[in-house]
Amino acid sequence: MASDNHEFRHESLEDRTSIAKYLNALSEAFANGNLTFGHNGHAIELEPRGLLKFDVKATRKRGAVKVSIRLNWQEDEEDRDPSVGSLVISTSGEGK
């Protein structure tokens, strides 16, 4: 698991044909469950699991158009903090 506090950012100019390879790359990465963003020998490796919060927003204001796609998720708490104990109800016997 990658350590915390990493950041990656990419910016480029594309057209509606050239954008497809980026969207496909993201789509495949989610399907594989492994998403790697690299730069200068550093990489953020993400393994989307559990619930993904998916947020699409489209706005058009006087010709200025924006489509934002946002994905959030929580990594497993136990992975980040192994001290989190889990609770168990014993079903073994009659109890008391």
């Binding site: 699991r49 619930l51 919060k53 609770l87």
Partner: protein, 544 residues
């Protein structure tokens, strides 16, 4: 204690109001009109007296040391009583104003007003003692005079009406008489306010007289014998019942705490039926009914007070050991109930129908929920309401294979754990019945989830409890051969996540719950046509 000045002026006020009313009786019964002017003149003085006491009381309330609630309560009661006394003096003046219009005094005297005045004066004589000694019994007597006055008024009212119907030349005098009697009846209203203010003071609680009497009747004590009972706290429930905690110091009662519930008759009948439902087979699980009293619309119930903490309190404030113990007791209790009451006949929980019934209330709080169909490119995103309709066919093929006793409203605050005895109790049993046990499980899980707490350690606790209960019930279901458990639990969770949003006002938290309901429903629909014994509920929705 309010200052001497307040006490002295208050006693003065009572005396002056009493004199005003005595003078009024004198005028009305003997025709001694010389007194009328002196009553008018006194009225300003009484107004000033009231203003003085009013101001002093407000100062006392404002300047009271923190924690000195007794002084504040007394000042408040004195203030309420003062204002009602002044109103009574005004009514006396109004009676005399009416008196001037009477032409034939024999008609007025024929109506026998003395007993009404006597009732008012008798009650007035008790006011000073009652308030400064905070004496409930005296206060009750004051309250009762309002009921006596009402009766006397009603009698005279009907007589005036029938005489008016008979016609004749006395119409004006009859109407005037009615006005005068009506002012005496209104004095009764003021006396009731006075009595109630003193009872509230004596019991440290705001209490209406009919609730106090319900308490008396339920406790089966005679008039004025409620001494030795003290009300420790009172609060209102969502269903409009009022609950009080009463300590019983009477002989033989050893200061036991009892729980007093008063409210709509129908609600309390359900509550009582729920308790009786459990009583026979699990007598220690539910509170004992000590007494029941039923009126036309209201009812009251006296219950054994169960010591311990609610599961919710333990979740939010308990130590890890306390939580572990409570959780284990929960598991042991549920398993015992389910095994002992299992009847192998299919039962249809109808979770989707439960959503449909409450969706309107959900939309009142969150208007966007339900009708949210969208398209993204070629993809059509159906509305939640459509998904619910599509799931009906699935639910129809998923009855529970057996029924058990269920609590019916299995929220974390309806479970009490007594660590001293390592024992669990159920309260609020108005929906207890034989049903699918999954109903209680899903309600319990979501009642943990929806607690409006964001603090990380508590959220982790909630997640751990929800997951532990899920795994525990999963094991039970496997052993019990309940092959559709996961699918039904998923429907139950959809139901509870959706309907609980009506109690969640934080829009982003409510949305998190709603989106979970949607997600679960879509996973269920994706499995349509498959073997339901291979379906498992995604557990990632259980954490926030």
């Amino acid at each position: 204690m309010p200052s001497r000045a307040i006490q002295e002026n208050f006693r003065f006020l009572v005396l002056e109001v009493t004199k005003q009313i005595e003078s009024t009786v004198q005028v009305v019964t003997t025709g001694d009109e010389a007194l009328i002017d002196s009553v008018y003149l006194k009225d300003d003085y009484i107004d000033n007296l009231r203003g003085f006491i009013d101001a002093k009381c407000l100062t006392v309330i404002r300047d009271a040391d923190e924690g000195d609630e007794r002084t504040v309560e007394l000042a408040r009661a004195v203030d309420i009583v003062t204002n009602n006394l002044e109103r009574m003096a005004d009514f006396a003046v109004n009676i005399l104003r009416q008196y001037k219009y009477v032409k034939d005094h024999a008609i007025l005297r024929g109506y026998g007003l003395e007993p009404l005045f006597a009732e008012v004066l008798g009650a007035l004589g008790k006011v000073s003692e009652a308030i400064f000694k905070a004496d409930v019994n005296e206060a009750l007597e004051i309250c009762r005079s309002e009921f006596n006055l009402d009766e006397m008024y009603a009698e005279r009212f009907h007589r005036v009406m029938s005489e008016l119907r008979a016609g004749g030349e006395q119409v004006e005098d009859l109407v005037t008489t009615l006005f005068i009697v009506r002012y005496l009846e209104r004095m009764g209203d003021s006396l009731l306010n006075i009595g109630e203010a003193i009872i509230s003071l004596a019991l440290h609680e705001r209490l209406k007289i009919h609730q106090y009497w319900a308490l008396e009747e339920t406790l089966d004590v005679g008039r004025g014998e409620a001494k030795g009972l003290s009300l420790e706290s009172i609060f209102e429930t969502r269903s409009g019942c009022r609950i009080g905690r009463v300590r019983d110091h009477r002989e033989g009662a050893e200061g036991n705490l009892v729980l007093f519930k008063e409210g709509q008759r129908d609600k309390l009948l359900e509550e009582r039926a729920g308790i009786l439902f459990w009583q026979e087979r699990f007598p220690d699980l539910v509170p004992k009914i000590l007494s029941w009293h039923e009126g036309e619309h209201h009812a009251s119930l006296l219950l054994e007070y169960l010591s311990g903490q609610t599961f919710q309190q333990i979740l939010l404030e308990g130590t890890s050991d306390e939580l572990r113990a409570a959780l284990q007791a929960l598991g042991t209790t549920l398993r015992a109930i389910w095994e002992a009451t299992r009847v192998d006949e299919p039962v249809q929980p109808g979770f989707l129908g439960q959503i449909a019934k409450r969706l309107r209330d959900v939309k009142k709080v969150h208007p966007g929920f339900g009708d949210d169909d969208q398209t993204i490119g070629a993809l059509r995103v159906p509305a939640f309401a459509d998904l619910l309709r599509r799931a009906e066919a699935i639910e129809a093929e998923l009855p529970a294979p057996f029924s058990t006793f269920i609590h019916g409203d299995f929220n974390v605050d309806n479970i009490i754990f007594d660590p001293a005895q390592d024992r669990l109790h159920f309260i609020d049993l108005h929906r207890s019945r034989r049903f699918d046990y999954v109903q209680d499980v899903s309600v319990f899980m979501v009642s943990n989830f929806r607690l409006p707490v964001l603090e990380t350690t508590i959220r982790r606790r909630l997640s751990a409890v929800i997951l532990a209960v899920y795994r525990f019930v999963q094991t039970f279901a496997q052993e019990a051969g309940d092959t559709t458990f996961e699918a039904r639990l998923t429907l139950g969770m959809v139901r509870s996540f959706t309907t609980s949003t009506r109690f969640v006002l934080d829009p982003s938290f409510a949305r998190a719950m709603y989106l979970r309901a949607r997600y679960l429903l879509e996973r269920l629909l994706a499995h349509e046509g498959g073997d339901w014994s291979t379906f498992s509920m995604p557990t990632n929705v259980l954490r926030y």
